[in-house]
Symmetry: C2
Subunit: 346 residues, 2 copies
DNA sequence: GACAGCGATGTGAACGTGCACATCCGGATC
DNA sequence: GATCCGGATGTGCACGTTCACATCGCTGTC
């Protein structure tokens, strides 16, 4: 009934060999799908494994092959929807390829904290690294610590020391801004993310390009921290000025906080102010008003990151990386600019 | 300038020993903080490590000690706020204890999918397992596959084969329901989670207890899938009946979808219907209306899970596990029952 | 001054696997 | 029938670390 007592050590390749009456090397061959092995022998070995409940010892294998079959993930803000979804996708994809995933969070974004997280991952002897929701600083530390394994960034960084998925955040942000401009808005404020985040910088750039293209005046962007709470705070400050008719927030959480502040101040969205977010988190389509935003396929991003990384790990030729272009999703938080701008209400 | 070429293998303990002119065992002692080592010797060894950029090989260590310093996390729905936050907390806590974390997602919740995920983790030779957002089935599979390592559940399961944090979901749900009752609501619907989820079952139980205590009539609960989209769907169905004045949703996402549907149907929250959620996700306080919900400290839950698990891994005596009782947070989505219930509006 | 005791260090084996190489066997080739 | 070849299998070692045990010298005790 119950499995054989695990007295002492787990069964090894040699225990299996003894039971199957072959050499340990034959067992090893069965494990690694070596071609030249008689079907009959293979069967006997598999049988023995089954009986002994044999599980290969990854540590031993790693030791001799110096391949850990593990990739690392360096994630910041891993509790938010986007990164969390990408991480999950990375795990799924890695598992499909027989790889394990080891995650380290960047709770502390100081260089020391970053170095610490990287060091932690390196101890695990990872073969490659995926960097999620990356800050500029992370790549500086990575470059400085010469980790000796390939790494992939989920965002284009412009650096040459690693590959990056090119998710065209700039275009996404530009489209969001152009949408507002198309609705007649001319006084648009950007609620940006922290500028040491590559994504935040790209989104800001897209915003600026669109503003520039349309030859509109520039409101100084507000630098936020991605949180809904900050969005609320920024909104409360903004309503004092009311010299704008639309806000493009760098992510949905901030947009939602923003709308909250506007609501509290008696401003109507989208009647008085239009709001656009970024990411299309699952609740975006259900908040009031439903949020116009830019959709990103985080799952696909995670999958591609793994494909790209493993390709590099195995030293194959460079694979094609097509751009992922985020898609504008128009919902209820944007509307044509009011005849009299909100500023008049002052 | 650049570090020494990594020609061939990485430096080993023996390379360090040679450079420091000691035996390899002395180096090992320095690594493991062995007490009897002369400070001067230690210094020399550390110096040598520094020069060689030595990093201990975890595979070799694991092989000989049969301790992997890795714990596994089996997570479902890891992209949502609660699980993601707990996972992050688990990683932080594990790292503090020198442990690595290996995560496997439960994309597929069939027994085969579950067994597959567990098998994947076991290949990694994990020392313990944390099960997040657990479904009943997971524990059945775990019991059946006799994984041989301790595991900890983030929710009380009533099973005896593992430890569980006791987060008192029942009390949390009861308080939420009592809050509605206290406001005069007598027709309360519960939008539950999938009943094979332990949390969903506990929240439903708390709801039923509160209804029972107050001797109210029972509306058959609606079984949802945790998503905001389902909340919207359920809300659309519910508005056809309008035989209720309040809804207690098993999580915030569903509550937000629900409110969306009510809004679309012209029902006012909380004027016509009160809504309570569960979890207190970051946007809960910013949606319109702000959502009354039950706060859970996911971070603390993750931390405690690691403490509990490592304690068990190290075979220490059982540690005290105090209950974590979720806290009701009253916001704008609940109000005293209207003089004429929504049903009259029919 | 002999001996126990302890601090500081060294020696060899073992962990479980894969690799390089050796061996054995049957069939094809001449 | 001697030779070669390749499929199927076995033998020993190496990977980098820790563990058990041994060694050496110094101090304190009687």
């Amino acid at each position: 009934m119950s499995p054989p007592q695990d007295r002492g050590r787990a069964p090894s390749i040699r225990d299996v060999a003894r039971l199957a009456e072959v050499s340990h090397q034959t067992v090893s061959r069965v494990l690694n799908d070596h071609p030249s092995i008689r079907p009959e022998t293979r069967e006997r070995v598999l049988q023995a494994m089954e009986t002994l409940q044999y599980r290969p010892n990854r540590a031993a294998r790693t030791l001799v092959t110096s391949r850990s079959n593990t990739i690392g993930v360096l994630a910041a803000l891993s509790t938010t929807y986007g990164p969390a979804t990408s991480i999950a996708a990375i795990e799924d994809a890695a598992r499909e390829h027989g790889y394990h995933v080891n995650t380290a969070n960047l709770a502390d974004t100081s260089p020391a904290g970053i170095a610490d997280a990287i060091e932690h991952l390196m101890l695990q002897a990872i073969e490659g690294l995926v960097v999620i929701a990356p800050q500029v600083r992370v790549f500086e530390v990575l470059a400085a610590s010469s980790i000796g394994v390939p790494f992939v960034s989920l965002q284009s960084t412009g650096r040459r020391d690693h590959l990056a998925l090119s998710v065209d955040q700039v275009t996404g942000a530009r489209r969001a801004t152009q949408h507002l401009i198309g609705l007649g808005h001319r006084e648009i404020v950007h609620l940006a993310g922290p500028q040491d985040w590559i994504e935040a910088e790209a989104r800001m750039r897209g915003f600026l390009e669109a503003i520039d293209d349309a030859e509109l005046g520039l409101h100084p962007p507000i630098l936020g921290d991605w949180t809904a709470d900050f969005g609320y705070y920024a909104g409360s400050e903004l309503v004092r000025r009311r010299d704008f008719t639309a806000v493009f927030a760098a992510n949905d959480e901030m947009a939602i906080g923003l709308m909250h502040a506007f609501r509290d101040a008696g401003l109507d969205v989208p009647g008085d102010v239009s709001v656009v977010g970024f990411d299309d988190i699952p609740v975006a389509k259900h908040v009031a008003p439903t949020l116009t935003t830019v959709y990103q396929d985080f799952h696909e991003i995670g999958r591609r990151a793994v494909a790209l990384l493993l390709n590099q790990v195995h030293g194959a030729e460079r694979i094609e990386v097509e751009d992922i272009v985020p898609r504008l999703v128009v919902r209820g938080s944007t509307a044509p600019v009011a005849v009299r701008p909100a500023s008049v209400a002052r």
